[in-house]
C-alpha cells in the first residue's frame, strides 16, 4: 500500500531523510520510531505530498508522489503532532469543513459517524477551543477519517495525553486497524509501538532496521533461556555445553543463561540433560528484551557505524 525506494529529503544541503526504503502492506500498522530529528515527520509529510522528495520515489495506493498528489491526498488521512483545529468553530463545523474539502457525498452522516466513533457527539456544538487536549486529539482523528481514507498517517497521536485518554486513543487506532486501514504511526513511545504495530521501522535519518519487534529481538539479542536452580554446580554448565544446539552458556550463583535457536523444541532436551546431571530446576523462562532494549541497541549500533 505504501512503497518507498531510496526516498531522500535535504533541507539546504542537510539530510533529513536518507535513502529510505519502506514497504507497508495493506492493513498493516507500521511504527516509525526514532529520536527527534530522525526524519519521521519529514517522511510522513513526503508521503502526504506536503513536501517534495529531493530524490527517490514513493507510491501510495498505486499513485506515485509527484505525479498524482491530489489522488494521494484523497486516499490518506493525516493527523499532525498538534491537532491544528479551528478553535472558534464547533466540532461539527470543523469536520464539515474538511468533509467538504475532501468532496464527501453525505457530509452530515459522515460527521455524525465519526463524532460518535471518537465519543464527541454530545459535545458536537461546542467550540473546539473549549476542548481538552485529549478531546482535541480525538477530533483530529475524526477529521482524518471523515473521508474514509484507506491509509492513515498518524504523527505522535498520544503525545502529551494523560494515560486514560492515551488508552482510548490507542483503542481507536486498533479499531481503525481492525477495519483494514493501513497505518503509518510516527511515535516516540516504544510501549505504544509495541502494542499497536505489526512492524517497526527505526529511523535515524536513514532506516536503521525494519521488521517485526519479535524478529528484531531475536536478531539483536538471540534467544536466551534462564534456568533457575536450587543449587549451582559447575558440572551442570558442562553437561549442557555438550549439546550441539547450545550456542553459549553463562552462569551466576543460582542461574544458567543458555543461548539456543529454538527454545520451543530444544528446552525439553536441555531440561532432561540437567535433571540427568542432578540439577533441581526451579524455573525456566525465556529472557525478554523490551522494545526499548531493541531501540537502544539499534541506536548504539547506528552510532558506531557513523563516520567520526
Amino acid at each position: 500500500m505504501i512503497h518507498t525506494r531510496d526516498l531522500t529529503k535535504q533541507f539546504d544541503g542537510k539530510l533529513a531523510v536518507d535513502r529510505l526504503t519502506l514497504d507497508v502492506k495493506a492493513g498493516e500498522v507500521l511504527g516509525l520510531l526514532g529520536p527527534n530529528g530522525a526524519g519521521k515527520t519529514t517522511t510522513s509529510r513526503m508521503l502526504a505530498c506536503l513536501i517534495r522528495p529531493s530524490s527517490g520515489e514513493a507510491e501510495i495506493a498505486g499513485f506515485k508522489i509527484g505525479e498524482a498528489d491530489e489522488e494521494i491526498r484523497r486516499t490518506i488521512g493525516i493527523t499532525t503532532e498538534v491537532p491544528g483545529l479551528y478553535e472558534r468553530l464547533s466540532a461539527t463545523k470543523n469536520l464539515e469543513f474538511f468533509a467538504e474539502l475532501y468532496g464527501v457525498q453525505e457530509v452530515s452522516r459522515q460527521v455524525e459517524k465519526y463524532l460518535k466513533v471518537v465519543g464527541l457527539w454530545d459535545r458536537r456544538n461546542d467550540r473546539a477551543g473549549s476542548f481538552s487536549k485529549g478531546m482535541k486529539q480525538k477530533l483530529a482523528l475524526a477529521r482524518a477519517l471523515v473521508h474514509e481514507p484507506r491509509i492513515l498517517l498518524l504523527d505522535e497521536p498520544t503525545s502529551g495525553l494523560d494515560p486514560q485518554v492515551t488508552q482510548s486513543v490507542r483503542e481507536l487506532i486498533l479499531q481503525f486497524k481492525g477495519e483494514g486501514r493501513t497505518i503509518l504511526l510516527c511515535t516516540h513511545n516504544l510501549d505504544e509501538a509495541e502494542r499497536l504495530c505489526d512492524r517497526i521501522a527505526v529511523l535515524k535519518t536513514r532506516s536503521v532496521a525494519i521488521d517485526k519487534p519479535e524478529a528484531l529481538r531475536h536478531r539483536l539479542f538471540g534467544r536466551r533461556v534462564v534456568i533457575k536452580l536450587r543449587a549451582q554446580n559447575p558440572a551442570f554448565a558442562d553437561a549442557i555445553r555438550s549439546l550441539d544446539f547450545v550456542r553459549t552458556v553463562d552462569s551466576d550463583e543460582a542461574r544458567l543463561f543458555v543461548q539456543v535457536d529454538e527454545p520451543e523444541t530444544q528446552n525439553p532436551v536441555l531440561i532432561r540433560k540437567l535433571v540427568e546431571a542432578g540439577a533441581d530446576i526451579q524455573t525456566v523462562v525465556e529472557e525478554q528484551h523490551s522494545l526499548s532494549d531493541i531501540y537502544l541497541r539499534l541506536m548504539d549500533e547506528s552510532q558506531s557505524e557513523e563516520p567520526s
Partner: protein, 264 residues
Amino acid sequence: MRAIRAIIAKEIADILRNRTLLFSSLLPSVLFLIIPLMIGRSAIRGRSGQLSPGQMGEIIVRMSPDLKDLPAAALGQIFIFRQFVVFMLMIPVITALAIASHSIIGEKQTRSLEPLLATPITSAQLMLAKSLSAALPAVFLTWILFGLYSLAISIIALPQVLPNVLTGVTMMLIAVICPLVAVLGLSLGVIVSSRANDPRTAQQIGGLFILPIIALFTAQLQGLYFLNLPVVMSAAVALAIIDLVVLGVGVALFDRETILVRWK
C-alpha cells in the same frame, strides 16, 4: 468550486466569531467614514482649514469647468466630499490586510495549515479562496460605507453636491479601484504574514502600505493633481499590474513546502 466555497464559508464564519479582527477592521473603516463627514460638515459651516471656500471653488472649477455656475458654497462642499472618496480607499486596504493577516497568522498559531494543506485542494485554489475571503468583505464593507457616505452627503450638503460627487471618476474609484486595492491589501497581507507570527505585527508592517494612498490624498487636497477619468483608468491599469506582481509573489509563497518549511 465546492472546496473554494467551503473555505470562504469557513473563513467568514471565523471572521464573525473573531472580535479582535472585527474591531481592528471595522473601527478604522468607520473612522474613515466619520472623519470626511465631520470635515465636510465643518466646511459647510465655513470652517474649512487651510483652503478658503473660494480657493476650493477655484480648484473644483479647474477640475470640472461645467460647474462654474454653481454657488461658491456648493463648490466648496463638492471639493471636500470628492477629495475624501480617495481617502475611503484606505478601507479596502486596511480591511483586506487585517483579514488576510489574521486568517493566515491565525492558522500558523493554531497549526491548522498542515491538515488543510493535506487535503486535495490545490495551492492556487487555496490562495484564491483565502483571497476572496479577505477581498469580498473588504469590498462590500467599502461599498456599504460609501453608500452611507452618499446618504449623509444628501442629508447634510446642498442639493447640487451629491450628483457632482457621484461622478464617473468616483464610481470608477469605488467600483474598480476599490477591488484592486483590496487585492493589493490582501496580497500584502499574505506576504507580510508569511514572515510575521503576530497579526498586530503584520498589520503594523502592512500599515506602511497605506502611506501612498495618504500621499495621493494629500497631494490632491493641495491641488497638485486632479483626478479625471483618464488618470483613474491609468491608475486602474497600473494597479492591476502591481496586483498581478504582488499576487504572483503571494501565490509563490503559498506553495505547500514553503508554508510548512520556510514560514516562521
